[in-house]
Symmetry: C2
């Protein structure tokens, strides 16, 4: 049932068996929908991915966007895709009926984005960015902004972007310098420069709508003086037309991968006429942007998972077809060679990939359901869902991104020399996947977010909630014989996590902030492993129940595969916690106190 | 003192302070040489790397070799390089005076290859392959073969290759099918196909000399029926000229990286006139090839180290120059931003890289000295040196290859978004480095070699010798206060390694060979970490002694940097052994027994 790049069986397993996505239809916001509609949406997404996006994967890489005199030319499929997404209602699918959307749950749409991302990550970025930008206008913009911008964005005619980074302010948003000068015309005049703006200019859309951070003249220094603006490439005229808005694309980057999407540099206000419309209140820009950013971070994790999933299926296919070598215990050269999937080390490499991609997807889908419940669940539970989502966001961004790279690399390794060559897609996946630990906040930033903010916020309430949820899963898993040992292992790991976290937080209490945060990246890696172990337990509880109910289950191999992959995760991945805990407990501040002069040579 | 891609200070440290390479000149074989000559060789190597190879690094990547009608066109620098290497005596530098060489120690030449590889890995491969092929003819070929082929190879006019892989026999040499038919003309007639042959055809040399494995008609099945042949692209005629030898290049691969060197497909005997000259005895080909192969494997580790080293220095330079963010404990937005090298997480990423690249280079140089002592040391010690070298070879191949990838990736991460773009060399290093776990025997093959052969051979004598050497180093380290704790940690890790190995070997004793070898790759990773910890201890013993002798040492920062990096390795890398040991001790055969049908979906 696996396509070349994705398994619909696994998607349905997570959606319907693990997360019970149908139950969302009991909520008023989603009450117009049912399983039939969900299935249709998935099927349409699959056809778009399989028929339109996957076939141009290599081509979009080889014929990357080109830049010429301010204009970026992209593959023709981009315009077709944006139009198809507009016509199919994909771009506004999550938005309210009021805003012109379809009120479909994010849990479902995440799976569609996953399918499209696995088919062709670069292509999938165009509509997703547009969704995020339009949502931001929908949530915080004036009615006039909404009326002007949201419809053509939802229709796939206009591209949306998120424009934050500047040359002197990569990860440091405090240092943004783009300036907005007041006018009495209802808009601001912008001057400044943005870099690394995905899809900030291209010919696959009729207009580009940048959601851009800037400082209004006289605003406070630092992040408290940042406002959010709509800065279109072309601005609507009184007569209903469009005219240039003094936003100049000055170049694009030549990148390792992710080449199907142009990453641009933008220069605003060179001619003193770049008009910007304030979204929401002055100086609250970062808060608004973070609504989009947090979902974008889970989206990056999804992208990492998607690429690694496609790589997994490509390597699985190869491992089944390629004959090479013989069993260790029977090396008769006269015997025929066996498919390499029969070698233990190849099975290990496939299990590693499956453990990462299915564990990651499970976490991402879980987060998507939290997003739905935060937006549309019963009022009394929303704060708790939001809290857990906040805690999980840096993990959902980072684990699939970092481990996705290793997963793709392992897929490439399964193909030996062929993995290194462009006859197979693995080398492209390997290049594409490397972006994820970088964009939307590097892994280092995510580590600081988890340990420095999420663990300590609300007196540790988010962490406590996370621990409670994991313990609930453990208790349930203990009742299934095949994973009782795994339940015990996770329980032990969790006890150690509490010890490690206590040690680190006590350092913060002593005012040793530098030492407290020095290994935040390792802490994130550590919590990430435990989180994915939890997700594997959740999945396997469901698959064990299915097996228990019907031993002759026609899906027995699928469920037994879940069990084996769960065992794999707990025996090969979870033990990595020991080394991380040792290091984190030592907390000697080695890197915090080291004099950079010792790198002299 | 660091160049853009390499540190001469560190090379001299390893060569003269750690390994006492000068002492090699006391051996008869190297007695013509001294420190002055060594320094001159290093300086010449550095100039070649810095002035000729490094400047064309990106260009050779972007303008990769092209294939047209059997001919491969490479960058003009390749011919210049081969000529320069020929004129400088580099290609035959290690060979005996008798063979036309210079009798320079491999310990020294390894450092030269390291410099060239760090400057431009693809370019460095051409002369290194030629050296290996010529050595093979020199060691096992007839005088006629030597006279015909070795001089033009040493002079850099003819390219040497190692031609093993076939389409149906990637890692499985048992299944080689290229056929050699006897004639009464002193040569064989070859028919067959080879793939993935590095530099198997190009216009930077006047001829290509393939050292090729094939089966003589009637030879036994399997590896016992493989012979080694010289198969030139152009064969010498009676009149002193050259004529085509029916070796056709049928294509080249388009690769992820390592693009400056062409990887070719060769077809032999299409016209029934591909002549091949036997090297040594019939059916002993694999043994001969493995002389070259073993050194080639250490050479792959060297390549991995070289690329990762260049990436380290590129990221170090960036980290010093790029200003971004502020100290965790002092986030005043009005304060100027600091160089990112001041952030703990960036220091961690730089220490990770330094720990890997300098630890790997230390191991490779140690192996090179073993090679020298095996060839030219006092007779009575040779067997022991050879034994230890045998044990260390899969580790020296794999640790720098696998960890080199992570090291380069970490270097890329230091640059954030810029690391992903081709304005900086990191993205190329990231692509180039990925070849190393694949060629000259994949990591999986190396794991089987270490656990399945090296650990058990001679009743465990190689492992015992390794343990003895490590314990000697530990005993010495205990006397230095700054690393006494590290000595203890390694001692504990070693005890656990003995336990793990005992457990695994007992499985083999019980006949459970599949389970015994199922996690050989993990065992290799595990022993690799311990080996590099040992190398860090060796280095730091020397740097501590230097610091103890002279507290005002002008090189104090270099030595203190060694100490800090050693501490880093023991606190961040060595703890990874705990998780690996846990897994290896469990030894439940999960992957060996898993039914591949469970990957169904």
């Amino acid at each position: 049932m696996a396509e070349d790049f994705v398994s619909m069986r696994n998607i349905e397993f997570l959606l319907y068996e693990v997360l019970d996505a149908e139950s969302l239809c009991e909520l008023p916001y989603f009450s117009e929908h049912d399983r039939e509609i969900f299935d249709m949406v998935l099927e349409t997404g699959l056809r778009l991915g399989a028929d339109e996006l996957f076939p141009v994967l290599a081509q979009m890489d080889k014929e990357a966007p080109t830049f010429n005199a301010g204009t970026v030319t992209v593959a023709p499929v981009v315009r077709e895709l944006l139009q198809a997404c507009g016509e199919g209602g994909w771009i506004g699918a999550h938005a309210s009926f009021e805003l012109g959307g379809q009120q479909l749950p994010d849990t479902l749409l995440t799976m569609v984005r996953f399918i499209l991302g696995a088919a062709n990550y670069s292509a999938s970025v165009y509509p997703v960015l547009t969704t995020g930008a339009a949502q931001l206008i929908g949530s915080f913009g004036s009615q006039e902004l909404i009326d002007t911008y949201v419809p053509p964005m939802f229709e796939g005619q206009w591209q949306g972007t998120m424009a934050m980074t500047e040359p002197q302010a990569g990860s440091s948003l405090t240092d943004l310098e783009t300036r907005a000068a007041r006018t009495d015309q209802g808009y601001f005049l912008l001057t400044g420069q943005k870099i690394f703006i995905s899809c900030g200019e291209h010919d696959g859309a009729d207009n580009i709508v940048n959601l851009m951070l800037a400082r209004i003249e006289g605003a406070p220094a630092g992040v408290k003086g940042i406002s959010l603006f709509v800065v279109p490439k072309l601005r609507p005229t009184a007569g209903g037309g469009l005219e240039p808005n003094d936003v100049l694309c000055t170049g694009i980057y030549h990148k390792l991968g992710y080449r199907g999407a142009p990453i641009t540099q933008l220069e605003m206000g060179e001619q003193g006429d770049c008009r910007a419309w304030l979204v929401g209140e002055e100086n609250h820009g970062l808060r608004y942007m973070f609504q989009m950013m947090n979902e974008a971070r889970v989206g990056v994790g999804l992208g990492g998972t998607a690429i690694a999933t496609a790589a997994y299926y490509a390597s699985l296919k190869y491992a089944r077809e390629r004959h090479q070598g013989r069993p260790v215990a029977g090396k008769d050269p006269a015997a025929p060679q066996v498919p390499i999937i029969e070698h233990a080390d190849v099975k290990r490499m496939l299990l590693f990939q499956r453990a990462i991609v299915e564990g990651s997807l499970s976490l991402i889908a879980y987060c998507a359901k939290l997003i739905d419940l935060t937006h549309a669940g019963p009022e009394e539970g929303r704060a708790e869902h939001a809290l857990l989502l906040d805690f999980l966001t840096p993990i959902a961004k980072t684990y699939p991104s970092e481990m996705g790279i290793l997963s793709v690399s392992t897929g490439l390794q399964c193909l030996g020399g062929y993995g290194y060559c462009d006859e197979f897609p693995l080398e492209q996946y390997y290049r594409d996947a490397r972006i994820h630990p970088i964009h939307e906040g590097t892994t280092g930033i995510q580590g600081m977010d988890l340990l420095g903010r999420k663990v300590t916020m609300q007196k540790g309430a988010a962490l406590a909630l996370f621990l409670t949820r994991v313990k609930e899963t453990i208790a349930e898993a203990e009742t299934h014989e095949a994973i009782a040992s795994e339940a015990k292992r996770l329980s032990d790991a969790l006890a150690q996590l509490e010890q490690v976290t206590g040690r680190l937080v006590s350092l913060a209490g002593e005012g040793k902030v530098e030492v407290f945060l020095a290994d935040a990246t390792l802490y994130l890696e550590y919590v990430g492993i435990i989180t994915i172990a939890w997700q594997w337990l959740s999945q396997t509880i469901v698959s064990e129940a299915a097996l228990a109910q019907d031993a002759d289950n026609p899906d027995a191999n699928f469920y037994l595969g879940k069990r084996t992959t769960c065992h794999y995760f707990f025996r090969y991945e979870l033990p990595k916690c020991a080394g991380l805990a040792t290091r984190l407990l030592e907390a000697d501040g080695l890197t915090a106190t080291m004099d950079p002069a010792l790198f002299e040579d």
